[in-house]
C-alpha cells in the first residue's frame, strides 16, 4: 500500500521556511534555463521567420549575407526571365531585386548603431508577405521617402512618421511604419530601389528574391542558375538563407545556456540533497512508525521521492511564473552576417515552460533519490529507539 500523498504535502507545509528556500533555489535554476532558451529562440525566430520557404533568394556565389553580394543588372534580368517563377495577377513575374546597405545611425539613447537600409520594389511587399503597413502610408516611387520597421521606429532616433532622416547626403521623409511580425525586417529602413541606386552610388543589386510557381521546381532552377556561365551565383530557399545567419549565435547562446544551467543544476541538486537528508533525519521516528504499521520499504522510498519531486516541481512552477514577464521584452544584438543591429523579442513557448518543469522535476528526483533510499533502509527497532 502506498503512503497517502497528503502526508508529503503536510510535511512540506510543516517546514515552510525550508521548503520555500529550496523551492526558490530550484525555481531560479529553471528560470535561468527557460530564460536562455527564450533568448536563443527569440533571436533564431527573428531571422528564420524572415525568410519564407516558397521563396528563393539569389546572391553572389560565396556570400553568406546580402551585404557582401553583388548582382549586376544584366544578371538580375537573366534571373527574372526564368520560367519557374510565379506570376502576379497582372502576369508579371514575382521578383524583387533589392539593394542593401548598412548605415550608421543614432539610437534614441544617443549611442550609434548600424541599420540595414533596403531598396525595394512594389513586388517586395508581395514576396515578404509578413510585412504590413501599420502607420502612415507607403513611400511613393521616385520621391525621397522611406518607410521603417516598427523596431527601428522604436529604437532609432528620427524615425517617427513625419521626421526627416539623413542618408547619403539626402534628407528622406519617413512616411510610414511597417510591422514585419518580429522578423529582421522590423529593424530595417525601406525605400525605392531605383532611387537608392544612384543616391547611394551602388549601381548593382545585392539580392534577387522570387516566388516559385511550384516548390518542387526549386532544384531545377537552382541547378540552372548556379551553372549559368553568365553569372556566379548561389540560389537558396529564403528561410534556409536566413536560418544559416542565425545558426552560429543561436547555437552559442544555447550552448552557453546549457553549460550554465547544467552546472547550476548540480549545485541545486546538492541543495535538495541537503534538505531531503535533513528531512529524513528529522523524521527517523516517523519512518520507524510507518515501517511498524506495515508500509513496505518501497512505499517509503516512493513517498520520500515524491516529496522531493513535489518540492522541485513547486520550484519549477515558480520559475515558470517568474519567467513569464520576460516574454516579449525586446533586446538587440548584431547579426554578424550583415554587421547590423537586429532587435528581437524574448520568446517563451509552452514547450520551453514544459522543459523547465521537467528539468526541475529531474533535479528533485536526483536530489531525493539518495536520502529516500537512506530512509527506506532504516531498521525499525533502531529508528523507533532514536530520540
Amino acid at each position: 500500500m502506498a503512503i497517502p500523498l497528503q502526508y508529503n504535502i503536510r510535511n512540506l507545509f510543516a517546514r515552510k521556511g525550508s521548503t520555500l528556500l529550496t523551492a526558490v533555489g530550484i525555481g531560479l535554476v529553471s528560470w535561468v534555463f527557460i530564460f536562455t532558451l527564450a533568448l536563443a529562440g527569440g533571436f533564431q525566430a527573428a531571422l528564420q521567420e524572415t525568410g519564407s520557404h516558397e521563396n528563393a533568394i539569389v546572391v553572389r556565389n560565396g556570400s553568406t549575407a546580402e551585404l557582401t553580394s553583388i548582382l549586376p543588372r544584366d544578371v538580375a534580368a537573366a534571373i527574372e526571365s526564368q520560367p519557374e517563377i510565379a506570376r502576379a495577377p497582372d502576369g508579371t513575374p514575382l521578383v524583387a531585386h533589392e539593394l542593401v546597405v548598412v548605415w550608421n545611425l543614432e539610437r534614441k539613447n544617443g549611442t550609434s548603431t548600424n541599420v540595414v537600409v533596403r531598396g525595394v520594389t512594389p513586388k517586395s511587399f508581395v514576396l515578404h508577405s509578413k510585412v504590413r503597413l501599420v502607420e502612415g502610408r507607403m513611400f511613393r516611387p521616385g520621391l525621397e521617402e522611406v518607410v521603417v520597421g516598427k523596431l527601428a521606429n522604436a529604437r532609432i532616433a528620427h524615425l517617427g512618421v513625419g521626421d526627416k532622416i539623413k542618408l547619403a547626403g539626402h534628407a528622406w521623409s519617413v512616411v510610414g511604419v511597417f510591422d514585419a511580425q518580429g522578423t529582421s525586417f522590423d529593424s530595417e529602413i525601406w525605400g525605392d530601389v531605383e532611387l537608392f541606386m544612384p543616391v547611394f552610388d551602388r549601381p548593382v543589386y545585392q539580392s534577387v528574391t522570387f516566388r516559385l510557381d511550384d516548390p518542387s521546381h526549386f532544384a531545377a532552377i537552382q541547378k540552372r542558375l548556379e551553372s549559368d556561365p553568365r553569372m556566379s551565383v548561389q540560389v537558396k530557399h529564403e528561410d534556409d538563407f536566413y536560418a544559416a545567419q542565425s545558426a552560429t549565435l543561436a547555437g552559442l547562446l544555447r550552448g552557453l545556456g546549457l553549460f550554465v544551467t547544467l552546472i547550476m543544476a548540480l549545485g541545486a541538486v546538492f541543495g535538495a540533497l541537503n534538505t531531503m537528508y535533513a528531512a529524513v533525519g528529522a523524521r527517523t521516528r516517523e519512518i520507524g512508525t510507518l515501517l511498524a504499521l506495515g508500509f513496505s520499504r518501497g512505499a517509503i522510498l516512493t513517498s520520500f521521492l515524491i516529496e522531493s519531486v513535489l518540492l522541485a516541481t513547486l520550484g519549477g512552477l515558480l520559475g515558470c511564473l517568474l519567467v513569464l514577464p520576460v516574454n516579449g521584452i525586446t533586446t538587440s544584438t548584431t547579426n554578424f552576417a550583415s554587421f547590423s543591429e537586429i532587435a528581437f523579442r524574448f520568446q517563451v513557448t509552452p514547450m520551453m515552460l514544459l522543459s523547465g518543469m521537467i528539468f526541475a522535476s529531474v533535479m528533485g528526483a536526483l536530489g531525493g533519490w539518495f536520502p529516500s533510499r537512506n530512509a527506506a533502509r532504516r531498521v525499525i527497532v533502531e529508528a523507533l529507539r532514536q530520540a
Binding site: L28, V102, M264, G267, G271
Partner: protein, 382 residues
C-alpha cells in the same frame, strides 16, 4: 582564532552536508567567474588598444571604403606621427564556420603602427619579401596546426574567390590582451587582384598621434578636412572604435549579469537553508556551551564563522577551478572568445562574493543562536 578548531570540528561532524554545501557554493562561484570572464574577454580589445592610436573610417557606413589618396593628406596633418591602413577581408577557411579575422595590411607601415604585434626579425623579412606571404597569430597557428611555410587557402566573401597565402611568420602579442588569432597579409596583393573599379580602396586608416591628449584635436581636424568630400570620415580613438564594436553585441553584459545574479542568489538561498538546519540541530549543544560560560558574542562568532568558513572554502574551490580549467583547456567557444582568460580581478570579486554569501547565510542562524535562552532550550529537547 583559538576557536578555529572548534568550528572546524563542527564542520567535519556533518561531513556529507559540509561537502554538499561547499560544492554548491563552489559551483555558483565557478559560474560567476565564467560569466564574468565572458564579459572581460569581450573587453580584451579595449585593454589592448593604444591611447595614441586613432581609427579613421567612412563616416556613414562601414560598407563604404575610403580612397587610398587620403593617405598623403593624413600624413601632412600636424600631430600625426604615423599612418597605416588595411582592409577587413572577411573570408573563411574551408567552411563558413571556421572564421577568424583576416586583414589586408600595408606591410611597410604596419609594424610601426602596431608595436604590440611581435614577430622575429627574420620572419618579418620573409613576410615582406613575398607577395602572397601572411603572418598568423600563435593561437591561430595552434588551432589549425599551421607552421612556417604552410599554405593557407582562404575563401573570400567580400573579395570573392579562392585565395592562397603562405605562412611566413607567427606573431605573439606583447601583452596577454592582444588577440593572437588573426591573419595579416599584403594589402598590395589584394589591391593588384582587384578589378579596375575596386582598386585603391582602403577600409580603415590607423593614425598615431604624438600624445593621447592630442587625440580629440587631431580627430576633429581630420574629419573637418574631409567633411565636404564624397567620402566623409569618422575618426575616433581605437578604444572608442572597439567599444562601438562591443556595443554591437547588444545587452550581453546586462543579460549575463542577470543570469549570474540569479545563480548566486539561488545558491545563497540553498546555503541559508543548510546553515539554519545545521544550527537548529545543535540547539542543545549551543545551550550547553552557554551554560559553560560562552558569551552570546562568542556564540555569534562561532556559528557565523562556520558559515563564513564554508562559503570561503567553496569560493576558493570555485574560483580556483575556473582559473585552472580555462587556462588549461584553451577554451574559445568556437573562436568566439579568442582570449578566454580569468582575470585576477574576477577571482578577487568572486572571493568577495563568497565572503558576502557566508555573512548573509550565517547571520540568521548566528543571531538566533546568540539570543538562545539556555533554560528553555535545554527544556525543549529533554
Amino acid at each position: 582564532m583559538r576557536y578555529f578548531r572548534l568550528i572546524w570540528a563542527n564542520l567535519l561532524r556533518a561531513k556529507r552536508r559540509t561537502f554538499l554545501t561547499v560544492f554548491s557554493i563552489a559551483i555558483a562561484l565557478f559560474l560567476f567567474c565564467t560569466l564574468r570572464t565572458v564579459i572581460t574577454s569581450f573587453e580584451a580589445s579595449l585593454r589592448a588598444s593604444e591611447a595614441t592610436r586613432l581609427v579613421v573610417r567612412h563616416g556613414a557606413s562601414l560598407v563604404f571604403p575610403l580612397p587610398l589618396a587620403y593617405r598623403e593628406r593624413l600624413v601632412q596633418v600636424p600631430g600625426i606621427t604615423g599612418v597605416s591602413y588595411g582592409n577587413w577581408f572577411g573570408g573563411f577557411y574551408q567552411d563558413p564556420k571556421n572564421q577568424f579575422a583576416q586583414f589586408a595590411m600595408d606591410v611597410p607601415t604596419m609594424f610601426d603602427l602596431f608595436p604590440e604585434v611581435l614577430v622575429p626579425a627574420d620572419q618579418i623579412q620573409a613576410f615582406r619579401s613575398e607577395r602572397t606571404a601572411a603572418i598568423i597569430g600563435k593561437a591561430l597557428a595552434k588551432k589549425y596546426g599551421w607552421k612556417l611555410g604552410d599554405p593557407v587557402p582562404i575563401v573570400g566573401t567580400i573579395y570573392p574567390g579562392d585565395w592562397r597565402f603562405v605562412v611566413r611568420g607567427i606573431y605573439e602579442g606583447k601583452t596577454k590582451d592582444v588577440d593572437e588569432s588573426s591573419l595579416f597579409f599584403h594589402w598590395d596583393y589584394l589591391n593588384e587582384s582587384m578589378p579596375e573599379g575596386r582598386k585603391n580602396q582602403v577600409g580603415i586608416y590607423w593614425i598615431r598621434v604624438q600624445s593621447p591628449d592630442m587625440a580629440a584635436d587631431v580627430s576633429r581636424r581630420v574629419d573637418a578636412m574631409f567633411e565636404n568630400s564624397p567620402q566623409p570620415t569618422k575618426t575616433e580613438t581605437e578604444k572608442a572604435f572597439q567599444a562601438g564594436f562591443i556595443s554591437m553585441i547588444g545587452n550581453v553584459q546586462l543579460l549575463l549579469t542577470i543570469i549570474g545574479s540569479a545563480i548566486v542568489f539561488a545558491i545563497m538561498l540553498v546555503t541559508i537553508n543548510t546553515m539554519m538546519m545545521a544550527a537548529r540541530e545543535r540547539t542543545t549543544e549551543i545551550a550547553v556551551l552557554k551554560t559553560l560560560g560562552y558569551s552570546d558574542g562568542l556564540i555569534l562568532r562561532l556559528v557565523g564563522g562556520e558559515a563564513l568558513l564554508v562559503s570561503l572554502l567553496g569560493g576558493i574551490l570555485g574560483c580556483g577551478l575556473a582559473a585552472l580549467v580555462f587556462r588549461e583547456s584553451d577554451f574559445t567557444a568556437g573562436g568566439f572568445f579568442p582570449n578566454f582568460r580569468v582575470l585576477p580581478e574576477t577571482i578577487l570579486a568572486g572571493l568577495l562574493l563568497a565572503v558576502l554569501m557566508g555573512i548573509l547565510s550565517g547571520i540568521v542562524p548566528a543571531v538566533t543562536a546568540a539570543r538562545l535562552q539556555v533554560a528553555s532550550a535545554l527544556r525543549k529537547v529533554a
